[in-house]
Every structure is written in structure tokens, then in C-alpha cells.
Symmetry: C2
Subunit: 412 residues, 2 copies
């Protein structure tokens, strides 16, 4: 059994990961959290203590770390005897953290694709640019690397795998729908790192249609869905990580991602984008100061973790899957509903962070117990979905399935 | 007669000033232009040469200058034997350029109020914060300092003085209306320095009503006007320099300023303001870089001078004056119409720069000839309006007067 966890990052998702690791430290062993800003790690541990999240008495220590530095990261993994690294830091860190895991033999788990600070929306499939070329390296070093083990990507990949395995003979369409029907009460804020948030939408929108990559512009294709709990919601087709692995790993001709946006978000996004303020390329001010506009936008926006105390409402994220079973057309919506307030009361973070963080810890538990300790690189849909969804149910993210007029909880 | 001109600044207004000084260099003598960016001065001189604007053979030289440095500025005034300085650089420079003029005895002309980079929208009357406290100093040194000699402030102050002198026994209301009905064809751009442009609207909106200062929020009070040439136009009550001197120098209980705004401008302004991107206070990025958001916004926006070649349409700026004459109610609109394309063909700048730059040169000519060489500090309404409006007519900015159904050119 693999033991001892190193959490990298100290934002809202890291806070959820810390609480959930603490709640399962009987399985996971010693806990460590590392970030560029030690004080953020200390606040997270204070929250873990305050909420008495540690299941059994044990270690939970903070560390200062620049995770772009592979040697420092490997040294910290060795020093803390961590066998599993949960990387929920910036998406720019993924490859260097993976290198440190390969060097030390620790398992690697992340929740989003690697990004290069100077590139936006690269050639599909995205995993082919940085992650997959390193699969053999993982295999030869017997290193388990679970890619994209948040909610989306992550749980929605497991939903697709479950649909493929149990509900369909043949799938024609997977539409992944992500709705945040919550309200943070601010004039404008992003729910996670603004830099990563905006970068999701500034490039082309890649979708997988008729087994080919199709490119659209952001906010070009809209669709209204009628969903459980959150009701009728407007969404736009958006590029997203999971399309890039599901299109390779499942034989499904149409895979699209839809995200709900309010009018305010669209207005702000369009103004910032059209003015060039979402650019990741440095510009020079009249005074000669070189600065990346997107980093200035990030600096003026509310810290996403500061939104949690006032956040109310729910999220609804799921896969609408269409295809055939026993010669008949079938359509199911596999989904989860999470509540911002409940997430906050349990972990001090809102539901967007909660839905991203809990699955990463569920994955860590499955790696620790051996179920998912595959000694190679894998996307979530390549792994057995049942133990993952069962853990998620126990950990606060139950799965529901709506089919026709029936809407029930998935019991595994 | 005062001779030899030093122009400070090298933006769109400076370019107009350069062309108009060149067209009158028989009166004005040697011409010099100085800015932080020598290359901009050189482009302006190249444009003056290309359009053959020099009336008689003469000097027009460029100089590198940091006009925040009083000693360098005084040295340059002495070296060039300039007796009149036209300051059309950043509004942050005014007080240091004025100091250099007082030190050297040169006349001083500017087109906008002095601003402190770290303060926005100070206590009214604005001229009381920096300019007026130095009036005695000007008087004791016999230095002519003409404040706000652009269009608004400037020509609109002369319109008010003319109305006061010739059209009314008693004025109750002056509404200054500024409409740019032109189109630059860009998604968004400001017509002059974005930093100064946005700063105009981020603070309180001061107006003079019932002989008292009244404070409102930006875009709080709108009004539609039916105007000559440009037709029905939506405006918002806005803070502006001229209210702050007219309220002191004329006995008029109500003085307001109205600026026309398109929907796009309002959307962009609201997004940037609400996000904190119009702040003049430095913030720190996650990487620790200290930067003023407004300066980043300025850096990503189109350079206002780059708009001129494609600019079409007209501006309409004027004073709607109400009051009594011979015991009867009277209402006149004194205004000018300028054309973006014509301004560009003559000076390489659009009409916003043209209307601001031409009056500064008209003022310089009047100082050179003695009409306005008052050897003290003065706002435009304190000076005789006729010679000014006559010069402006000859120089491309004719005055028109609409009263009831009659609309005619002012002939002086």
C-alpha cells in the first residue's frame, strides 16, 4: 500500500484536498502541503484543525516549494517519504511535478491539463502535447500518473466509462454539461484562478464531431438544457480537457463540452478579450514596464477562495449520453448536484473547488489501496469507474442518473 | 511682441499645434517641440514638412525633454529663446512646466487642468488645488499664464464670456455639450490619452447648481439633446475643468457639462471600472510585480493618434445658454462643428485633437501680438473673447449661433 501524501498548491481546491485527505488519513498516512506561499498552507492547516478534519492523530506539515524546480520537488518528496503527490497547484507546474514523481517513484495525480504560460489552446488532442509523450517513461519507471482526476475532467470521464460499460452497446454522443447555478454576490469574479479560467476561453473551441476535430469561436454556439434541480440553463460550447482523452479512449463520434455562462460573465469576457487584456503575451507600458495583461486582470479580481463564505446555490455537472442498447435508442444523463454552502461548511471552500478536489483525493485513496495503482499513465476513463464512483458517493459527491421520467441515485 | 514657441508634448494635439504654429510662423518666429520620445517629435516635424505647413522659411527643431524636470525645461526655454510655451503634454506636467515659465519669464499656455497621478477628481473648484494658488507668483513675475486654452475648456469659456457680454443681461444656465458623432472603426478606442480620458470619469461628477457644488456618480444623470448637424444625441452629466473656473468668474447659478457616450463606451468603462482596472493606485501581481492597472489599460488600447486616418464624421461642441435679455427669456446655442476627415487632411490628426490644438495656437498668437499678454494668470473667460473667436474662425474653427429657428455663423 502506498502511503503519505504531498499536496502541491494552496488555493481553494488544495484546501478541499487537504480536508478530504485529513478525513482519510487512516488510509493515506502522513500529510504534507507545499506552495510558493507558505502562509496559504498554514491557513489551510488551521482550517483543517478548526474543523477537526483529521480522522486519526497524525502528521500534517507545511512546506515552502517552488514546484517549477524539479530537484526541490523531488527532494521534498524524498524528505517527506510521500508516495503519492496530488498536484493541485497552477496548471503550469504539471510537467515539472510529474518529472519529480518519475525521479522518486511517487504516484502523480492532477486535475487539469498542463499549460505553457505563453501558449493558449494548442493543437488537439491536448494531452498529446505534453502528457501522453511521457507515458512510456511512466511505464518504464512503474510510476502511476492519473491525469485529470478532478470533476471535469475526472468524474465526467468516469461517467462516460460507466455509460460505455453498463448502459450502451454503442454511444453516438456525449455532451458534458457544467452548470454553476450558484451566486457569490460580487459584481464579477471567477470561481477558480482567473488566469486559468480566462485561458480556457480565449483560444479556439475544439469539439469532437463525426470523429473529427472541429474548431469554433467562443460564444459562437449556444444551447439551452433542461436539467435536474437547476432547471433551464443557457450554455455555450467550450473547449475542455476531457474531450481530448475521451475522443481517443472511447469509440464515440461526438463529444462536446457545454458550460453555463451568465450575461455578466460574457460582457466582461468580451470587453477584456477585445481590448487585449486577456493576453498572455507581455506588453510594455508607456513607462517601459513589461507586464502580462492577464496577470494584471488576475491581480484586480477577487481571490476565488474569498468567495466561499457568501456562496449560495448549487452546481450541476454531468454527461448526457446518447446511443443504442439492445437495438433501441437510449439517452441517459449521469450527473452530480453539489451545494456551495454545504461544501463551505465542511471544507471552507465553495462547490467548484469541492467538486474538483474531492475526486483527486478519491483517486489518491484508490492508488493507495491498489485499485488504481496502474504503474503507468492513465486518464480516468481508462480505469475502473465503480470503485471511484463508490468512493465519491461516500465522500460527498453522489452520482445520479436521469433516464426519461426516472431520476435515481446510482447505487454500486 | 513675444516670439519663438516651445511646444511640449508629441501626441495628437501637439501635432495639430505644430501644424498651426507652422502656418503662422511669420508671427510666432522659431518653433521648437520637445517630448520624452524624440522620435514622436521627429514624426510631427516630418508631417509638417510633408504638408508644407511652414508659412515662411524658419526654424522648427526637436528636443528630448523630461518636462517633470523644471531645470531642464527652463534650460531648454532659455536655449531656444522661447517666449511662449504651449504645454500639450501629459496633464501631470503642468505645474513643473509653469515653474519653468515663471523662472524664465516665458508665457505659459495649457489646455487642461493639472493632475496628480495618484489623485482623482479632487475638491472643487479644481483650479483652486494647483493653478490659482500660483496666480500671485505669475503676477509678481509678470508672467502670462493662460489656463485651459483648448476647446473644452477654452473655446467654450470664450463662448460663455461672449454670451455674458453681448447676449444676456443675466444668465441662469450654461450647459456645455460635447458630442463626437464621428466613427474610428475600431472595436474600442479613446480619442485622447486613455489615462486622462478614463480619469475624467472615475471620480465624482461635480456640477454647479443653484450656485453650489453638487456631486453625482458617472452615468447617473443622462439627457438627450437635439443639436445642429449631429441631430438627437444622448449625453451624460460629466465633471469637466471649465465648470470650475466659470462658476467663479461668471455670476451664473447653473453650469453643467454633458458628454455624449456610445453604448460601447459605457459597457467598456463599466467593466473596467468595476473590475478595478481604471485604478491609478499600484497593485501587485501574483509574481510580485508592482503596476498601475490604468497604465496597462492604456498600453493595450489603440494609440489615439493612430485613429486619425480612418476617422469620419463630425464633432459638435458648444454652450447652451439660458437667461434674460431686456426682460425677456432668451436661449442661444453657441457652437462649432468640426470634421474628422478635414482635420486629418490638414494636420494628420482627427477633430478631437484639432479642436483642442487650434485654440492653443490662437491663444499663442494673441499673446504674441499683445491682445492676451496679460502678465498674470487667467482663465479664458477672463480675456476678451472677440479676438480669440475671430482668430479661430480664420484658423478653421468657425463659431455658429442657433437661436430659435435661426442658425447663423458668428461674424466678428
Amino acid at each position: 500500500m502506498k502511503k503519505n501524501i504531498l499536496i502541491i498548491g494552496a488555493g481553494g481546491v488544495a484546501q478541499v484536498v487537504a480536508h478530504k485527505c485529513a478525513q482519510h488519513n487512516d488510509i493515506l498516512g502522513d500529510l504534507h502541503i507545499a506552495s510558493r506561499t507558505l502562509q496559504k498552507c498554514e491557513s489551510i492547516i488551521a482550517s483543517v484543525k478548526e474543523k477537526k478534519s483529521m480522522k486519526v492523530k497524525g502528521v500534517f506539515e507545511t512546506h515552502h516549494l517552488d514546484a517549477m524546480d524539479v530537484k526541490s520537488t523531488a527532494d521534498l518528496i524524498r524528505k517527506t517519504k510521500s508516495r503519492i503527490v496530488i498536484n493541485v497547484g497552477s496548471a503550469f507546474l504539471n510537467m515539472s511535478v510529474l518529472s519529480a514523481c518519475i525521479e522518486t517513484g511517487a504516484a502523480y495525480i492532477d486535475t487539469a491539463i498542463h499549460e505553457d504560460p505563453l501558449k493558449i489552446c494548442e493543437t488537439p488532442p491536448w494531452y498529446g502535447n505534453y502528457e501522453w509523450p511521457r507515458r512510456e517513461e511512466c511505464e518504464s519507471h512503474k510510476v502511476t500518473a492519473i491525469l485529470g482526476a478532478g470533476f471535469d475532467p475526472g468524474v465526467v470521464n468516469a461517467y462516460a466509462a460507466l455509460a460505455h460499460q453498463d448502459y450502451f452497446d454503442k454511444i453516438s454522443d456525449i455532451d458534458i454539461i457544467d452548470i454553476n447555478a450558484g451566486s457569490h454576490g460580487r459584481w464579477f469574479a471567477t470561481n477558480f484562478d482567473p488566469e486559468i479560467n480566462f485561458r480556457e476561453f480565449t483560444g479556439q473551441v475544439w469539439s469532437w464531431q463525426n470523429s473529427k476535430w472541429v474548431s469554433n469561436k467562443m460564444f459562437e454556439i449556444g444551447h439551452e438544457w433542461d436539467l435536474p434541480v437547476v432547471g433551464r440553463r443557457n450554455t455555450y460550447m467550450t473547449g475542455h480537457d476531457e474531450i481530448h482523452s475521451l475522443s481517443k479512449n472511447l469509440d464515440v463520434p461526438n463529444i462536446r463540452f457545454w458550460m453555463g455562462f451568465g450575461e455578466r460573465y460574457i460582457t466582461v469576457f468580451n470587453v477584456l478579450k477585445n481590448l487585449g487584456l486577456l493576453s498572455e503575451q507581455p506588453i510594455k507600458t508607456a513607462e517601459g514596464l513589461e507586464v502580462v495583461p492577464l496577470k494584471v486582470v488576475k491581480a484586480v479580481l477577487p481571490d476565488p477562495s474569498s468567495l466561499a463564505p457568501d456562496y449560495t446555490g448549487k452546481t450541476c455537472i454531468g454527461d448526457l449520453v446518447k446511443g443504442e442498447k439492445d437495438g433501441k435508442h437510449r439517452e441517459v444523463f449521469i450527473y452530480n448536484i453539489a451545494d456551495h454552502r454545504e461544501a463551505y461548511l465542511e471544507t471552507g471552500s465553495q462547490a467548484i473547488s469541492y467538486t474538483a478536489g474531492v475526486p483527486a483525493v478519491a483517486a489518491a485513496i484508490l492508488v493507495a489501496l491498489g485499485d488504481w495503482d496502474v504503474k503507468t499513465m492513465a486518464n480516468v476513463e481508462e480505469l475502473p469507474p465503480e470503485p471511484f464512483l463508490k468512493r465519491l458517493d461516500e465522500m460527498g459527491l453522489p452520482t445520479r442518473i436521469r433516464e426519461g421520467k426516472e431520476d435515481k441515485k446510482l447505487v454500486l
